[in-house]
Amino acid sequence: MFDPDDIRVGVYVCHCGTNIAATVDVRELAAYGAGLPHVAVSREYKYVCSDPGQDLIRQDIRDHGLNRIVVASCSPHLHEHTFRTATAMGGLNAFYFHMVNIREQISWVNEDKVSGTAKAKDLLRAGVRRVAMHRPLERGSIPIHPDVLIVGGGIAGIHAALTLANAGKHVYLVEREPSIGGHMARFDKTFPTLDCAACILTPKMSSVKNHPNITLWTYSDVSALEGYVGSYKVTVTRRPRYIDESLCVGCLECIDACVYKQAKVPDEFNYGLGKRRPVYVPFPQAVPLVPVIDPETCIQFKSGKCKKTCIEACGDRHAIDLRQEAKQEIIEVGSIIVSTGFQAYDARRNPYYGYGVYPNVYTALEVERLVNASGPTAGEVVLRDGRKPQTVGIVHCVGSRDENSNRWCSRVCCMYSLKLAHLIKEHTGAEVYNFYIDMRTPGKGFEEFYQKLLNERVHFIRGRVAEIADWGLDATEEGKLVIRVEDTLAGKVRRIPVDMVVLSTGLEPQADANDIRRLFNISCSSEGFFLERHPKLAPVSTFTDGVFLAGCCQGPKDIPDTVAQAGAAAAEVLALIDAGHVETEPNTAYVLDEFCSGCKTCVGLCPYHAITFQEERRKSEINQALCKGCGTCVAACPSAAIGQHLFEDSEIFEEVEGILTYA
């Protein structure tokens, strides 16, 4: 009935509800499509991506003998796969399909219908001309190496690692600090349930340590990455801690034995609120429980003249090795989860809050340590001079929602401020004032927690603090920190003298987020957090296959959300591994022997070393498994001897032609 050789194109114009129909005249567009060469059927439909929409395509393929499909709808990044599948279900090769983007490219970025429709016609024309050139293609497939790399050992990394390990997959967990645990390990209680962070985290930490399927490398960085989904080659640099993890039993005698009788070095884990020795473990529950020697402060490293009492103390275990050097581990993995977390906003950037100037202005993280039973003050909330504060002011949105620093809402500050307010009141009985712009308590049980705090008579003042100063107008303000703020609800400007100020600093991307981004070849959103493939449909995937995101490196979020996301990332990885292989886009380049002049121009160009030169045949050859399909060699070949599936010169020429020929 239909001659298989003549090209019969089916055109489907999507309304996308009103998303497209509002600014593109879809009826006119479809009618126009019908008039284009080779077009056998041209329809418009409310939602082409819906089931009935896809059925429509399948049906037409049978009834009208269509052998090419063009859908004019959204971005191929959203639904190209959907429609290719539909095309295949209709009995055609999936690659006899082309997608025309009239939503992101037209209806959403253009106001008037006339110019919009005109533009849509151009693109549709181009699409129809292009698809006519399409040829049937087969997807390649790459095997997936079952091992997984997880970068960052905070709660996100830990949860993902355990999920995967329990499913029987081998995980390499790489953490740059001496211990895993991340920010959560520093918290005392967690909102809104107030269950102790350690009680829920430390068991998970130790099971990471003991899990047969997890290789844990702390004090280490990922220094190089090559390869692609399914088979990545990763180089991990393990910094020397001068104590052999395999020999150390965690007795910590070396620490007591250190020639420094008092701890003198401000300790990082407690933000300098406590002190440590040159040989130390960041905190008692550290995993692994193996001390680190800090060459910056260790006498032996500085002068070479130390009694080395630590080595004595270690005795015949011989775990201490002062000649230890950085070690490189090279591993093969099939997929990667990036969970590198966040850094807290530096409160010094808001000088009018006096952080770093007035000793009793603290950041929220510092106070987390103060209220923590295992913290530097053993849970005593005290001022630098040891006094108990009688009044405390908690300042929200420091480094959040501010055009002068970070524009975004950090999502967790409202809740952790409430939590700290509760804990401070509990520990000290102090009057606690919260200064907020908007109170955001959208999570499960959050609003109830807010209510609880209101009933505990914590003061809530709606207003962004203007300044914090140490000068008083009268005796009641002398020697206090005075917070000046407009109480916007009472409609009064107030001066509130307090003993202690807590700055609820926001969350921002890690300082080295850009290096990490480059290393793993993923993108950032404008504020610098890592960009997910799609905010709704692919929230933990990235644009690099096999690389997934979990936790605050993707954006500020609380512990429940982080754990949920880590689980999701683990599930994505499992799906990948259990499929055993991943189908590849058949957009690889290939050499047309008859035209190859053997000039070798292409060989040097390929970043994946996929092109080899066959000396005996004097021809280049492209390894289809290695080729990633960038097409650089295609554009470079002086004798046009290289083609690229899906992006053939002919196809692109036709597309350009289609755009520019005024029909």
Binding site: H77, W108, V109, F543, G631, A635, F647, E657, I659
Partner: protein
């Protein structure tokens, strides 16, 4: 009165940065001039100078190339190749009597929706200032390609 001159721009956007930037412009509902027509390629390195020449030959008033920022290329260094070719191409077009402003190479990341808008709007302005392309050049290329 005659219709105002609406330049037509053929834009080659790389799949991983600039095309996504344009998608983001869409989802953020940024409004910009409707004059650009985007052709998606996997990498700016895929853009064969012939595509550009062909576009001009077929009557494009301007050609825009979009790729990832240096160091961010999804394929490691395709965008550098694109840059090298672009420089040559611009000279060559100059000799052909095509103003260098008619072709533009821009690094636009997946996050820079606003950049997409600015670049396209700017380019439309420039082209409106330059006016339609002179006919003779067109024929030159028709033979060339």
């Amino acid at each position: 009165m005659p219709e105002p001159f609406e330049p037509k721009i053929v834009a080659f956007f790389c799949n991983w940065c600039t095309y996504l930037g344009a998608d983001l412009a869409g989802t953020s509902r940024l409004k910009y001039a409707p004059n650009a027509r985007v052709v998606r390629v996997m990498c700016s390195g895929r853009v064969d100078p012939q595509f550009v020449l062909d576009a001009f030959a077929k009557g494009a008033d301007g050609v825009l190339l979009g790729g990832c920022h240096p160091g961010d290329c999804h394929y490691q260094e395709g965008n550098y190749k694109a840059l090298r070719r672009f420089k040559l191409l611009q000279q060559f077009l100059g000799q052909m009597g095509i103003e260098p402003e008619r072709i533009r190479l821009e690094w636009i990341s997946a996050a820079e929706a606003d950049r997409v808008r600015t670049v396209i709007n700017e380019m439309v302005e420039t082209l409106k200032r330059l006016g339609p392309r002179k006919a003779p050049v067109e024929t030159q290329f028709a033979e060339a390609s």
